[in-house]
């Protein structure tokens, strides 16, 4: 187990390095950030000085190795635009994005799994068909459109919920969070719902398919033959089997959700990482982009580790092979 985790981490480092190299080359091909950073009235001397300051006068491979040297010392570079260490910049915004993404994933599990169970249990009923048709909409409607619609209804027409910002925040362990205050929760509701609609639909459909498959299985028939109540069959026998694929997909999905939150954050003016990364890309602020992507890689590796561990808890057959 320990060996396996170390292997995973080594793989992650390789991926992060390869990715950093690609970003370096890619941004180099797109162009230089100098034009956007210089003031209009800057002289030629100012320009040369800035290029030298940012280290952009060196060949690309030298820039890359300087960056690697920094990484070893725990320094991912300084933002060209904000003149702040890139990591600090991202970490200060990360909690907002994380809590939004986790709220969305939580919603998709809390709503998606029961809806899927209900739909799969009695697939012919009108309720189940409504759920399944609804999930197609959740699947196909674009997030930005849903987000705008939600704002129109709940903020503009009804005036129930705020449409932008994080609201009141409170700190735990020195990190600011919105979900611990009522006002913060109110602010989070609309963006979380619009971000989670796709996930709810996916989890619902996945659960439904799993339940329908399990319903025709021999072990369910045997459970019925034992005289078990339907509730017990559904909530123990079927649910535990169905959760295995759901956990996989939701795990992969946390990463997706964080990436998708760029759109949602822009619409709801949610001060998360998504906003910063969009700004950094348009300003070609390389240190921030690289630092962000490296964090994402690390996050994906951690999520996958958690998924694998959860697997072992859910499925005894996998547990046995490892140990």
């Amino acid at each position: 187990m320990t060996l396996w985790i170390i292997q995973r981490l080594l793989q992650a480092i390789l991926v992060a390095l390869a990715m950093a190299a690609i970003v370096f080359i890619g941004l180099h091909l797109i162009g230089s950030p100098i034009e956007t950073l210089l003031l209009p009235e800057a002289t030629h001397e100012d320009r040369l000085r800035l290029i030298a300051d940012l280290g952009l006068d060196r060949p690309l491979y030298q820039q890359f190795f300087l960056f690697l040297k920094g990484v070893v010392q725990g320094n991912l570079g300084t933002s060209y635009v904000y003149k702040e260490p890139a990591v600090d910049l991202i970490l200060s915004r990360l909690p907002a994005t994380l809590e939004l993404a986790f709220a969305a994933v939580l919603l998709s599990l809390i709503l998606g799994v029961p809806l899927g169970l209900a739909a799969g249990w009695k697939p012919e009923s009108r309720f189940s068909r409504t759920i399944m048709i609804g999930s197609i909409f959740g699947f196909s409607l674009p997030i930005f459109w849903i987000a705008i619609l939600l704002i129109m209804i709940f903020s503009v027409q009804l005036g129930w919920l705020p449409s932008s910002g994080r609201g009141a925040i409170n700190t735990i362990l020195g990190i600011p969070w919105s979900f611990i205050t009522l006002d913060g929760l109110k602010h989070m509701l609309l963006p979380a719902v619009s971000l989670s609609l796709f996930n709810i639909s996916m989890v619902t459909r996945l659960t439904e398919a799993g339940v329908r498959e399990a319903m025709s299985s021999e072990y369910v028939r045997f459970a019925k033959a034992k005289g078990l109540a339907p509730w017990r069959i559904l909530s123990v026998h079927i649910l535990k089997n169905v959760m295995i694929p759901v956990v996989t997909v939701v795990g992969l999905d946390i990463g997706q959700t964080i990436a998708f939150s760029v759109v949602t954050e822009t619409i709801f003016a949610w001060p998360g990482v998504g906003k910063i990364i969009i700004d950094s890309i348009s300003a070609l602020d390389r240190p921030v982009i690289v630092a962000y992507l490296m964090l994402v890689v690390i996050m994906f590796v951690i999520i996958n580790l958690v998924v694998d561990v959860t697997y072992r808890l859910l499925d005894p057959r996998i547990r046995l092979q490892g140990e």
Binding site: E218, Y219, F222, L228, N241, I244, P316, L320
Partner: protein
Amino acid sequence: MTALLEIKGLKTEVVTSDGRVTLIDDVNLTLAAGEVMGLVGESGSGKSVTGLSIMGLVDNPAQVTGGQILFKGQDLRKLSERKIRSIRGNRVAMIFQDPMSTLNPVLRIDTQMMEAVHAHEAVSKQAARERARDALGMVGIPSPDERLSAYPHQFSGGMRQRVAIAIALLMSPDLIIADEPTTALDVTIQAQILSIVQKLAREKGTTLIWITHDLSVVAGLAEKLSVMYGGRIVEQGLTADLLRHPMHPYTNGLIASLPAHNKRGSRLKQINGTTPSVASMPSGCAFHPRCSSATQLCLSRPPLEPIDGRLLRCFHPVTAGAPL
């Protein structure tokens, strides 16, 4: 003596908007307490459907559409879902064919056994666990205490079938329906399972319906034999009588095709043709297209009539003994 189980005119059909397909029709069975009956037939003859119909476990779109299932005098078809659930697994238990898939792969054996007890009786966890352990011991699982906390994949096929049998025995049911429980197992394991079930059924006086396609399995096990073909019972009587002198041409063919009955060096006997599918069941006697003594008469359906100490559904009974 009143019968423990009496089935009259049982009919199970697949009902869809396109029409109905009959799976079993006019099935009659009577079993006294402690009796062992073999239910024999080819794949698709309706023997498994009969077992599931008794349990009320036929899956949509199939459903029981006619007849009575009298268990201790009460018609199971008329009971509420809750009532029938209190009988299922409690008074009537079932064992299925494939032990690899009947146990839930992600639940421990003790969970799967104790829940069966708790479904019918409010006993403490400790008591349920003890009963589960004793049941495992009864079916010959070594060190049952440790095995209780194992998962199904840690057992072999034969051991899993023992666990399934132990679960069926947990509530000491009056009737066990065994749906080909040895078909998926090695021959040596088959023999072990057979002797375990036979011994336990005899000790506890459990009534047994043993569904199989293998005549040699039931020959030594069952006192009574019902032979099914095309969703109907074609011959029913004492096992010894039927084996010695099969009167239905189909039963006759089944017995004649047992390898043990064929002379060394001669061609194995077989019944020509294949089992009809439920969608294209021949009219009249379902067996007539494959029967050598079929006549014009066989195009109308023969009734199940008592003859010579048994029930027979044939216009042209085999008169001479089977060509052994």
